[in-house]
Amino acid sequence: MNTFVRRAGMPLAALVLVGAVLAVQIANGGGTFEPLRPADPCAERVVVSKSDGIEGVTERLVLLGVDGAACQLGVSREALTLKLGQPGTRTHREIAALRDGLRSAVGRMKEDGSLPLASELVDEALDSADLNGLLKRAIRALPDSFINKALKTDDVLLRTIDDLDLRAILANLSDQGDLNQQVEAAVTQAVKDSLKARLRGLL
């Protein structure tokens, strides 16, 4: 066996083996096997919901709203969601960003046509509303065109967002009943205010 093979054979074989293994690992995605990176909350994303009706609208609104708030706060949507899910006090900046985010979300949903007309949500809203049966039947008897003229979904949502005590809601996220109660009260108040404003406009 010549001197070259004795001197260089083994190191060359080692280099070839190491190079081949590293090349195969890297070619198959080695080094990129890392946790999913959070998306940029300021980049527009398509938000879909598997839920229908009010639940679907609420989910999309909240997801877009959290995106907007996260963008304003300079954090990822996921980091903000995890932070809001933890107990603790919320800063004024966080509450303001969340409210702004939700308001912007209403605007975006209106723009992309994903905001349903009020008439499409009335039946479902009445099912859970604390109203007497006669009144519910009377409202259901109203023609859709009348309801849509009297109530604009975006207006009701914006009023609801303004009325909601976000700090109180975030402090008690685990109590689903309490959450529903607070949202329902804010929506009812928003509907009333919207109707009053509409009447005032007509007069």
Partner: protein, 447 residues
């Protein structure tokens, strides 16, 4: 007689050196069973290597004045007794104390067995078998420990050592021969021992970190992890034919081995997925490197140096203090990386839950169940299955929930793999430093 005695002594050498890493795969079980912290349980590993590393040279120095049969028999008996004590330990402090005593006995047994094996087989073969038995024990230790833990319990690791050691005591006493007192004639082989220590530190990444990644990060059973890491000893065996084929000089062989270990550890740092297959080739590189370096360096550190036992003590010391240094360097790095991996993992989980094709109500239920489960499993890489198991979902939603669970587990695997990356790369760096100690030019002696 020699046919039985000498192999028993070789098995004892393998057992003592296997104990260096034999408990690696049992650490999670020990942690749970003895209600210990991660820091405490690491000392089960550190204590043994530290005591063996610190006691090997003094044991060999004092050894010259006593009969090797007696020293070996006492050492093996202490090792056997301490092994039984380890199996019966009811607390982590007791286990660590027993491991220290086990290492004391082990140090005496290793030094004594070397002299007896040289007496039985002659200088060349005796030393070669002593070195090879040690290498085999080091390589097979984690595999055997993992299989025993899975099949029986972590205590079984220590129980099975007792009968071998008990048989080895009369075997040691049965060796007849003259053992002349040898004065200190040669200085320790600093370069070979230094390389051995640095390489042992690097190999800690392969033996300790890899099994942790497999068991804790990728959630494989100790038996699966044991079978997976068996690639290292198999590849170490394959290194001999390769060396015979290319016939390199000892320096070139060790340098190539260091390079293979560095390359293998670097490849372990970047697996493309959590599939076990991606660890095979990197482990094969580490195993080939192990086979080309450790026995070669040990032989060189002992070659023609007297007193033999003392130089053997230096090699044991270098290897085991190297393991301790490796653990001391790598453990804080990977523990901190594991801690830092929590936030990205949680964000990845949140992202997938938010975007899951589930109804809003089901997403909230999943998030709450995960939150409860994660707060109960603080400090560990979490097992998310209990959170999904207690969900009450419509049949139509179950496939989406199952897909979400799979995706979340993948995210955890990704986070764990990422958390181990720097430690593997650090191990690769240590192997490259070892390579530098091999290729650095020798200082010329002036007349």
């Amino acid at each position: 007689m020699r046919r039985v005695v000498a192999p028993l002594l070789a098995v004892t050498v393998a057992l003592v050196l296997a104990d260096s890493a034999v408990v690696t795969l049992a650490l999670p079980d020990i942690l749970k069973h003895l209600d210990a912290s991660v820091g405490q349980v690491a000392w089960v590993l550190i204590a043994y290597n530290l005591v063996l590393g610190l006691f090997a040279v003094p044991a060999a120095t004092g050894f010259g004045r006593a009969q090797p049969q007696i020293i070996s028999a006492v050492g093996i008996a202490v090792f056997a007794g301490a092994s039984a004590w380890c199996a019966m330990a009811g607390s982590i402090d007791m286990l660590i104390a027993a491991r220290c005593v086990q290492a004391l006995g082990g140090a005496l047994a290793l030094i004594g067995c070397l002299e007896l094996m040289v007496e039985a087989w002659g200088e060349r073969r005796g030393v070669a078998v002593w070195v090879s038995a040690g290498l085999a024990g080091t390589a097979i230790g984690p595999v055997a420990g993992g299989l025993l833990t899975q099949a029986i319990s972590w205590q079984a690791i220590f129980v099975v050592q007792v009968p071998f050691a008990v048989l080895a005591v009369p075997a040691a006493l049965a060796v007849r021969g003259t053992f002349p007192l040898v004065q200190d004639r040669h200085r320790p082989a600093i370069r070979a021992n230094l390389t051995l220590a640095i390489l042992s530190a690097a190999l800690t990444a392969a033996s300790f970190l890899l099994v942790l990644l497999l068991v804790e990060g990728w959630r494989h059973s100790p038996a699966i992890a044991a079978l997976t890491v068996s690639v290292v000893p198999v590849a170490a065996l394959a290194s001999r034919p390769l060396a015979r084929l290319l016939r390199p000089s000892p320096e070139v062989e060790v340098a190539a081995g260091c390079l293979l270990i560095a390359g293998g550890l670097a490849a372990l740092a970047i697996p493309p997925s959590a599939h076990l297959a991606w660890t095979i080739a990197p482990q094969a590189l580490v195993g080939l490197g192990l086979g080309l370096t450790v026995d070669q360096l040990t032989s060189r550190a002992m070659d023609m140096r007297l007193p033999r036992a003392q130089h053997a003590g230096w090699t044991i010391s270098a290897r085991h203090l190297g393991v301790v240094i490796g653990l001391a360097i790598l453990t804080p790095v990977f523990t901190a990386d594991l801690q830092n991996a929590q936030a990205p993992a949680q964000e990845a989980i949140a992202s997938l839950v938010i975007d899951a094709p589930l109804t809003a109500q089901d997403k909230i239920a999943v998030a709450q169940a995960l939150g409860d489960e994660l707060s109960q499993q603080q400090g560990d890489i979490p097992d998310l299955h209990p959170a999904f198991a207690k969900l009450e979902l419509d049949a139509a939603e179950r496939p989406a929930a199952a897909a979400l669970e799979r995706d979340l587990n993948t995210q955890l695997e990704r986070a764990a793999t990422r958390a181990f990356r720097d430690s593997f790369l650090l191990g690769a760096g240590l192997a490259l430093i070892a390579l530098l100690t091999v290729i650095a030019p020798r200082r010329r002696r002036t007349a």
